[in-house]
């Protein structure tokens, strides 16, 4: 009896961790989409870049917590470079071009990862005190996994405060609904787009370094995360932040539980569920573009 109970607790916590990682990646995608109507296909690759940068920082002796802060900043800077060089000329063109462009960027980044770090799987070394297990309701659970939940919660609260309390957040929310009006108020929309892209990329990087120690880091992780985050974004409704929360929790739970019971074809169950939801709600659970 206690065995079943502890497995249930284990599964529940694992689902929450997976949901949290999906949530941060999908949130980054949604922020970019909501503000500048760009679907960033290279988001998964940026997530992988975040994990690899985190690995390199920790491997060269940087404190893990320092790496946790430096990595998103570095990935954000990469995002800034991408935005200024290749996304900017795409603003006036059809959306299809941006999709294909960022898809090409994804292959470029994946190729660069393989070129720099190689195909070998890598592990991020955690500090001593995070490697142990902790007892929750009689279940032994890794400390780090519990820590990730707190980190994800902290990021989400920070994002919420940013969007609701600060001036930048108010501008962002306004720009997602009526961009023309925002530029009439004398705010340079170009900076808003730039900021949104940087923020989205930084979130992908943060998710990368948070999720890195949970599993091994390999070049395939970006592609897998891209698909999962698309499923989350499409089910929740494109550009809808609350929809992403609900969808991330749903997908996280379904995937963890199906992986536990069927192992191999867990993704297929997730896709079938997605198809059923979309057949009845083509615009996702909460509809498109509710940016709050």
């Amino acid at each position: 009896m206690s065995g079943t109970f502890s497995i249930a607790i284990d599964l529940l916590l694992n689902s929450l961790v997976l949901s949290g990682v999906f949530l941060i990646v999908a949130m980054g995608l949604n922020i970019i989409y909501g503000l500048s109507r760009i679907m960033n296909m290279s988001h998964g690759a940026l997530y992988a870049v975040g994990a690899y940068i985190g690995y390199s920082l920790v491997a060269t002796g940087v404190n893990y917590f320092a790496a946790l802060i430096i990595t998103p900043i570095l990935v954000g800077i990469i995002g800034l470079l991408i935005e200024r060089t290749i996304i900017l000329p795409m603003r006036k063109r059809s959306m299809v071009y941006t999709l294909i462009l960022t898809y090409g960027l994804m292959f470029f980044l994946d190729g660069m990862i393989k070129h720099i770090w190689g195909n070998r799987p890598r592990f991020i070394e955690l500090p001593e005190f995070m490697q142990g297990m902790i007892s929750i309701l009689g279940t032994q659970y890794p400390v780090y996994r519990l820590m990730t939940l707190f980190m994800i919660a902290a990021i989400m609260i920070a994002l919420m405060l940013l969007l609701s309390k600060t001036k930048a957040g108010i501008i962002m929310r306004a720009a997602s609904t009526i961009p023309e009006m925002v530029s009439c108020m004398g705010i340079n929309m170009s900076y808003v787009h730039m900021g949104a892209f940087m923020l989205g990329c930084a979130m992908a990087g943060a998710a990368g370094i948070i999720a890195g120690p949970l599993t091994t880091i390999d070049p395939l992780m970006g592609g897998e995360m891209l698909i999962s985050s698309f499923v989350v974004v499409v089910i929740g409704g494109l550009g809808s932040l609350r929809g992403a929360v609900i969808a991330a929790i749903l997908i996280g739970f379904v995937q963890t539980f199906t992986e536990f019971f069927i192992t191999d074809l867990a993704m297929v169950i997730v896709f079938i569920m997605m198809a059923v939801i979309l057949a009845f709600m083509p615009r996702g659970l909460l509809g498109e573009g509710k940016f709050e």
Binding site: V96, F108, D110, G111, F271
Partner: protein
């Protein structure tokens, strides 16, 4: 290959020079295996033609209907697996029946997927093609008992190519496969061109230009999108049937996202919205790929850079170059 002739997309005017050029290209392609004895080029051109057909099918979707499919190669792969499994397990000799079964099976798979996809918007459509493509890829990869998993499908029999009782030759000979592919691809090309120039094609283009206006005129946008999707998938499945006959082998890597990006790249290279451009794109792309992959293992980086470069500087592709020069001369 000299593919610089253009077949007018919509224009109804009669161009004797262009028709002459098309006949010239077809004749030279048909005579090629009798002139040259080089097996490498024969199989390379076969591959080019098959991928040209696949790129053209994606172009029907992308260039004419305005819907982006990231993993169109999935449907080619599904049909190739279906044909292969049919030949191995059910009947090793009936080629036409196997191809027919493969195309029907692929349509049956593509129909519900397309039904879900067209209900969402244009952007969600593109994201869903990637999600469903990855799903099929995962199934093929993990279902070892049927598909052979990572190893792929091996031990394909070589059925004879027959037509109404005539024996045309065995499919184990590359020259026969080359001619067979050329015939099928040519028929598919002219058939597709006819469909695209019909009122149906005009409806698809109207949807591409403005979905809202098309629906105001009374067009059932979702149904036409679904029909466009099915047309593209059926063409892709024909390419798949040819592919397994040519290779005698099919593995999951043919269905990967990476290969899908290659097909997208062919369409971009050739120019969206031009059927012959897709073939030109496939010919150039496969030649470059063959050339570069012998020199470097980081083909991914080059593919990514090519795509970025093309979208930034040459969005109309190879087929658009003519217009560009025309404008240049006028200015």
């Amino acid at each position: 290959m000299n593919s610089t002739t253009s077949i007018p997309g919509i224009s109804k005017r009669f161009y004797p020079l262009k028709i002459f050029a098309v006949i010239l290209i077809l004749c030279s392609l048909a005579l090629f295996p009798f002139i040259s004895d080089n097996r490498f080029y024969i199989s390379l051109i076969t591959e080019m033609m098959i991928y040209g057909l696949l790129a053209m099918s994606l172009d029907v979707l992308l260039g004419y209907t305005g819907l982006l499919s990231f993993m169109h190669n999935t449907y080619m792969g599904i049909c190739a697996y279906a044909v292969g499994l049919f030949l191995i397990h059910i009947s090793p000799t009936s080629l036409w029946l196997a191809c027919f079964a493969g195309v029907v099976f692929t349509s049956l798979v593509a129909l519900p997927v397309g039904w879900v996809q067209v209900r969402t918007g244009g952007l969600a459509f593109a994201l869903l093609t990637l999600a469903f493509g990855m799903m099929f890829y995962t199934i093929v990869w993990k279902w070892y008992a049927v598909t052979g998993g990572d190893d792929g499908l091996m031990g394909m029999p070589n059925p004879d190519i027959t037509l109404f009782g005539w024996h045309l030759g065995s499919s184990s000979d590359p020259v026969n496969i080359y001619l067979f592919t050329l015939t099928v691809v040519t028929i598919c090309f002219f058939l597709t061109r006819r469909i695209i120039n019909s009122p149906f094609g005009a409806v698809l283009e109207a949807i591409r230009e403005n979905e809202d206006r098309a629906s105001f005129v009374g067009i059932n946008v979702r149904r036409y999108k679904l029909l466009g999707w099915m047309l593209a998938c059926i063409l892709a499945s024909i390419a798949g049937a040819l592919f397994i006959l040519y290779k005698g082998y099919i593995g999951p890597s043919t269905m990967s996202a990476f290969a899908g990006a290659g097909v997208l790249m062919m369409v971009l290279l050739g120019g969206m919205g031009s059927l012959w451009g897709a073939f030109a794109g496939a010919f150039i792309f496969i030649y470059i790929q063959d050339y570069i992959s012998t020199m470097t293992e980081h083909w991914e980086i080059f593919l990514g850079l090519f795509v970025i470069f093309l979208v930034l500087f040459l969005p109309t592709g190879f087929a658009g170059l003519g217009d560009y020069f025309k404008r240049f001369r006028k200015a």
